[in-house]
């Protein structure tokens, strides 16, 4: 906070950040500085302190520097704020006079003091503001062990004026100080240092020699290229760095317009480096060749593109695509017109990617090439490079007898940007054949050409062929608005063909999906039912499940007793395809009592399907639904169907039901398959029971496929059986303004008595994942800066001590029977057994809950109970409820 200095002698008028005037008064710089923060919690108004200090000129700087203290002593943060603030202040666009005065004052201070830490801090501040005037004052320090580094920073900022002093210092320094001078000469590109640096390369070894090579590379004097190429032939890290140095030399030569010299270096590296092992260096050289030699380098680029070294080939194509210049485009145009078809196709592909419209003509002339690979890439290229003028060329190919050509032309029409291309496509509709019209209408739809909606609508109503009308209807799915829905309904009611009716219905549904008021759309469709014939009625009923909701379901139910058998079948199919399980009772009733066997079978299938769509329904309820389905199943095939659905329910009661059919000759194989499926879904909730059932399956099944799955499941149990993978999950939970590191300490609803939070549900487990023992919370409940909860019940046959082995990404907190037994606010990935907590399991069911925090990225956890000696704990069961 701003505080007024106690004693007032001087007065400086300054402006605060908002532009209002503020009288900043202080006796001394120390008085002003006292208003600055000691830690990093400063305030906006403290800017005025620096303004006032700056107004005190060199005297203020000296006063401030006098407040600096040795690091061991500490407590001088305010003075450091102030001096750094002054450096940054004067480095800004506030006038040369103030900047130069600050630099002069600080240089004087540096030279006056012999305290190393103080000089170092002062020189560091000059790095933000110093220029030519600093050189003379600082040059003697560049070989100083303590001051060399910051002093060089200032001299480098000065640039050319620092060259001679640095060169003079070159032979005086030793070790890293000398190396720093060498690098500084390189950074300022000191042409006068070439001879000295060359001598170092010839006479020295190790870091000095490498530093000299790098400096020479950056200076960019071509006279050393031979020496540098030779020097880049070492081994390991030094070789990579020396290679970079010579490639930098080539780049600098190229920048200076010495393309020939640059190209020579690049070519040496391109040709001289080991095939495959040094692909990266060769690629670097190849790119340089493309830059320095232009089209003359393209044969080498083409050779690389055609290489069977994938890394070389892919990157070389990128070079061909990105190398700038019209000449290079022309070179590839030449290749596209001449040579083997594969080379022509490759050249056209590169031209397509280059995006240079100069290649449009060669694309156009290749549109009718005999060889398909050439023709197809030319078509794509015309789409990529062309504007509206390319539309008639491509539209003309839509009448081709070759399917691939027609398809490529249609796709190419999608690429051409702009409204003018939309207009051109619409104009092509006029004289086109019906088959071409179908494609053009599709293109208008895919392009989202809303301005041509009336024209497309015209083809919905008046297209001469069903194909054209269907294409227009499909385009309307993208372009259509609410007011077009009645036209779609009209097409459903009045058109004869099934394809057209279905297309109109599907477009109706897609357009409806974009409307705020979905119920109005459903009403439009439902109200069309009474006046429709059987065929239209069936089509409409087929669409209602896609709209979903109560109003649509009511529309289906109204038709359940229709006199037409086709309509009644459509009703059953619609109910069976419903997106949620609301029509399950309707279907069960139909499965038991529909007049036709086919309808009963369809209804039963639908019922079994709906039994599997609600992840929130308790598993026992789902098993009950399967028992009801089994009761309604009249034939063996139907019972097999029910068992198939049962295999997806990972619950002990499902396992018990499956086992009931092990002795049924007609269904035992399906029952065995179902049992294996159930065990997989149970995810270790009762490993002992699961193991027993799987062994029974192995003993009774005659199916190799089932046997293999059962064996795999047994292997899985053996390997991961005691990891708890059956969890209920809840979340993600966020708390605005809370650091992720504090999430573990913040109580969200799942850890509060009586609060429901976001509810609990069972996520899928992926046994094929890299960590099948862990739960991936990103798949279950994605989130960032949040927490998620996992809970399950663990049954222990006796009270016993145990070790809870845990892994988590990120932090984890664990409750066992309502008591926190472990917390680790970690920042890590999931590693099984990262944490171990000694716990006591009680006899019977134990409630286990994990809270896992998430900053971002991967998110998950794993847990298992082991005996205190590290061995397996037998007899545990898990019930995620």
């Amino acid at each position: 906070m701003f505080r007024v200095a106690t004693a007032v002698i001087g007065l400086a008028l300054v402006l605060d950040a908002g532009g209002a005037s503020r009288a900043q008064t202080a006796e001394t710089a120390a008085g002003l500085i006292e208003q600055l923060p000691a830690e990093t919690e400063g305030g906006k108004e403290q800017e005025s302190v620096i303004r006032a200090l700056a107004a005190r000129g060199a005297g203020g700087i000296r006063e401030t520097a006098a407040l600096l203290k040795a690091p061991e002593e500490g407590g001088d943060a305010k003075a450091r704020y102030a001096l750094h603030g002054l450096a940054v202040w004067h480095g800004g666009p506030r006038g040369e006079a103030g900047r130069a005065e600050f630099v002069r004052a600080v240089v004087e201070l540096v030279r006056e003091t012999d305290v190393a830490w103080k000089r170092a801090f002062l020189v560091q501040q000059l790095a933000w503001v110093g220029s030519d005037e600093s050189v003379a004052g600082l040059v003697e320090f560049v070989i100083d062990d303590t001051l060399g580094d910051p002093a060089l920073r200032v001299l480098e900022a000065a640039g050319k004026p620092a060259e001679k002093p640095l060169l003079a210092a070159l032979d005086k320094g030793k070790g890293e100080a000398r190396l720093a001078v060498i690098q500084a000469l390189g950074r300022i590109r000191a042409a006068g240092a070439v001879a000295a640096l060359r001598r170092l390369v010839e006479e020295e070894k190790g870091a000095v020699r490498l530093g000299a090579l790098e400096a020479l590379g950056n200076i960019g004097d071509g006279s050393v290229s031979g020496m540098m190429l030779k020097a880049a032939a070492g081994e390991g890290y030094e070789k990579a760095k020396a290679t970079e140095a010579v490639l930098v030399l080539a780049r600098r030569l190229g920048e200076a317009g010495k393309m020939g010299e640059a190209a020579e270096i690049y070519r040496e590296v391109w040709k001289g480096r080991a095939w495959r092992e040094e692909t990266h260096a060769r690629l670097h050289a190849l790119r340089g060749m493309a830059e320095s030699r232009g089209p003359d380098a393209m044969p080498d680029v083409l050779e690389a593109v055609a290489s069977d070294d994938v890394a070389l080939s892919v990157a070389a194509k990128d070079i061909a695509v990105t190398a700038p210049g019209a000449e290079i485009t022309r070179w590839w145009i030449g290749r596209a017109q001449d040579g083997r078809p594969s080379a022509r196709a490759a050249a056209l592909d590169i031209l397509k990617e280059r995006g240079d419209r100069a290649a449009l003509a060669v694309m156009k002339s290749s549109l009718s090439a005999e060889v398909e690979s050439v023709r197809l890439v030319a078509i794509a290229g015309a789409g990529r490079l062309g504007g509206a003028e390319a539309v008639p060329w491509l539209a003309g190919l839509l009448g081709s007898g070759d399917e691939a050509t027609r398809k490529a032309a249609g796709e190419a029409l999608l690429w051409i940007p702009g409204e003018a291309a939309n207009d051109a496509v619409a104009a092509e509709l006029e004289g086109a054949s019906d088959s071409a019209r179908e494609v053009l209408l599709g293109v208008l739809g895919a392009r989202g050409a809303a301005a041509h909606r009336p024209k497309v609508l015209g083809f919905v109503r008046g297209g001469k062929t069903a194909g054209v009308r269907v294409a227009a209807i499909k385009a309307m799915a993208v372009l259509g608005a609410f007011e077009d829905l009645s036209v779609m309904v009209e097409a459903v009611l009045k058109r004869d063909g099934e394809e057209e009716k279905n297309a109109a219905r599907d477009s109706f549904i897609t357009i409806s999906g974009r409307q705020k008021d979905r119920d109005s759309c459903v009403r439009l469709l439902r109200e069309a039912v009474p006046g429709s014939g059987v065929a239209a009625r069936c089509v409409i009923l087929g669409g209602l499940p896609k709209l979903g909701g109560d109003a649509a379901l009511e529309g289906v139910r109204r038709e359940v007793a229709h006199e037409s058998i086709e309509v009644r079948e459509a009703v059953v199919r619609a109910l069976a395809a419903w997106p949620d399980d609301k029509p399950a009772p309707d279907l069960l009733e139909l499965a038991k009592g529909a007049g036709e066997e086919k309808h009963r079978v369809l209804a039963l299938r639908g019922y079994v399907r709906l039994a599997g769509v609600n992840k929130w329904r308790p598993a026992e309820e789902t098993v009950k639904m399967h028992r009801a389905a089994m009761a309604a199943a009249a034939r063996a095939e139907d019972r097999k169907l029910v068992l198939s659905g049962l295999g997806k329910v990972g619950h002990i009661t499902a396992l018990e039901m499956a086992e009931e059919y092990f002795e049924d000759k007609e269904t035992k194989e399906e029952a065995a398959a179902a049992a294996v499926g159930v065990v997989t879904g149970m995810r270790g909730t009762d490993p002992a029971k699961a193991e027993g059932t799987l062994k029974r399956v192995l003993a009774m099944t005659g199916s190799e496929a089932v046997r293999k799955k059962a064996k795999d499941a047994l292997d899985y149990l053996d390997k991961y059986g005691d990891y708890i993978t059956a969890w209920l999950v809840s979340g993600p939970y966020h708390e605005k303004g809370l650091d992720p590191e504090k999430l573990l300490d913040h109580a969200f609803p799942p850890e509060k008595e009586g609060e429901k939070g976001k509810g609990w549900w069972r996520p899928e487990q992926d046994p094929e994942s890299e960590q099948p023992y862990a739960i991936d919370l990103n798949k279950a409940i994605w989130g960032e800066n949040c927490a998620g909860y996992l809970k399950t019940e663990v049954w222990s046959p006796r009270a016993q001590p145990a070790v809870l082995e845990l892994g988590s990404d990120d932090g984890i907190k664990v409750w066992l029977n309502g008591v926190v037994v472990h917390t680790n606010n970690a920042w890590r990935g999931v590693v099984a057994g990262d944490d171990k907590a000694d716990v006591n399991l009680k006899e019977g069911w134990n409630n286990l809950m994990l809270k896992v925090s998430q900053g971002g990225g991967d998110w998950g956890a794993c847990a298992r109970f082991r005996a205190p000696d590290g061995g397996r704990l037998e007899g545990l069961r898990v019930k995620p409820e």
């Binding site: 000691a38 906006k44 940054v88 666009p93």
Partner: protein, 427 residues
């Protein structure tokens, strides 16, 4: 609409990925001398503290070819823990240069503090390795120029391990479809799930020097950074609070939150023209401090406003996440819009997927279709962090030329763009 990704450019991006395969499949599928899909992609992890060990060192499985061949750290304790996690088949190193000499390593994970990111990444690229670099990619803007050049010229795969862009495709569709109009204002703050952790990652200003622990090679830890007295808070995790090594909370979280926005706004090839910080000034020369809000304004009028909510006055609470002249997206992780249904409307709008992880990219050499930002995208995003911190550190509203990547009329600010390094390290 100015500066939006055009139909041609966004489809072009997808096609570029596909186009690469017009040449590649013969090698990959036929398995001639290319890498087979079943081949193990091997890694070395350099920097095995928090993320290095936790997220990048894999557990080598007995009986299978090892995936993590080498781990490297200047702290012997970190190195020991990493070796223990990796298990058999992994060697430990104290000097990253020796790691880069191994010919059997396919890609290198750079998980050191950020002042080493660019140097080690560039050295790895020069040694022919592909690179997965932790965020933030660089510590100052010029490092990004050097890194981009190295990736492009050596033809290597490179990506940055921020949270990535995979989850933002739907949002990209809404924005690119034009349903919100243009220009847009985007807000990132704790209210939208974006913590910048600026208090957590503030440095300390009055800490006395402490003895360097024997397990730490402090000189190598400092590397290109200036020599400053050791104290524990300066290294390991809390290094983020010191300008020489990172950029405070912005360095930690900035890429996570802002990179998807660059992608969503289609700003991967540009940057803001004006940066305005609402923050205390002066800032400490060594320790990163607090800030309240930074506003980035792009040439087309789009604005990105980031807010810490940990210093100064907060913005009103009822502002939307993204706001355009035709529509708003109210929250960052939800699909509530004004008018409603914009996400559904934009669902069919074509946006190329971003799915490749580093190991896929190493195998296919497809550097375009990756789930995380590539070097060019990451450079633009991390530049936002650096620009914000420069505005905070200079206390000035800055004008930036995003094409030339230079400040306009502010030579002092320009000094923060390219910071010399301590010998023998240099770009």
């Amino acid at each position: 609409m100015p500066n939006r990704i055009t139909r041609r450019s966004f489809i072009g991006r997808a096609a570029a990925a596909v186009a690469a395969f017009t040449i590649v499949p013969s090698h990959v599928i036929a398995g001639r001398r290319g890498r087979r899909p079943s081949d193990t992609v091997t890694r070395a992890v350099i920097g095995t503290g928090g993320m290095g060990r936790g997220a990048h060192v894999t557990e080598n499985e007995p009986g299978k070819p090892p995936r993590t061949l080498a781990v490297c750290d200047v702290d012997k304790n970190h190195l020991g823990e990493a070796l223990k996690k990796a298990g058999d088949g992994c060697d430990g190193y104290a000097d990253f240069r020796r790691v880069l000499e191994r010919k059997d390593v396919d890609f290198v994970v750079v998980a050191t503090p950020p002042h080493w990111h660019a140097l080690i990444s560039i050295a790895a690229l020069q040694a022919g390795k592909d690179v997965l670099c932790e965020k933030p990619m660089t510590r100052f803007i010029a490092e990004g120029w050097a890194l981009k050049r190295a990736v492009d010229r050596y033809g290597r795969i490179f990506m940055v391990n921020s949270y990535g862009r995979g989850g933002f495709m739907k949002l990209r569709k809404v924005v690119a479809s034009g349903l919100l109009g243009w220009p847009l204002t985007v807000r990132l703050s704790p209210r939208f799930g974006c913590e910048f952790k600026i208090k957590m990652w503030s440095g300390r200003t009055n800490v006395k020097p402490e003895p360097v622990p024997k397990e730490l090679d402090y000189d190598m830890w400092l590397g290109p950074a200036p020599v400053k007295p050791y104290f524990e808070h300066r290294v390991h995790a809390s290094f983020r609070g010191y300008w020489d090594y990172d950029g405070g909370g912005l360095g930690d979280m900035g890429m996570h939150w802002m990179d998807p926005i660059q992608y969503v706004l289609g700003k991967d090839d540009t940057g803001p023209v004006r940066i305005e910080a609402y923050a205390p000034w002066p800032q400490h020369p060594d320790a990163a401090g607090l800030w309240g809000r930074v506003t980035f304004t792009y040439a087309d009028g789009c604005r990105l406003i980031i807010e810490s909510e940990e210093w100064g006055e907060k913005s009103p609470e009822n502002l939307p996440f993204i706001e355009g002249p035709k529509g708003k997206i109210l929250h960052r992780e939800e699909t509530e819009t004004d008018p409603p249904g914009l996400f559904e409307q934009a669902e069919s709008f074509p946006v190329p997927p971003r799915w490749n992880y580093i190991e896929d990219a190493v195998k296919t050499r497809d550097n375009k279709n990756i789930s995380k930002p590539d070097v060019h995208e990451a450079h633009r995003t991390v530049s936002l962090i650096h620009l914000a911190n420069i505005a905070i550190r200079t206390g000035r509203t800055l004008n930036w030329d995003p094409q030339a990547e230079k400040f306009v009329g502010d030579a002092g600010a320009q000094r923060f763009v390219d910071v010399p390094m301590r010998a023998p390290w240099h770009l």
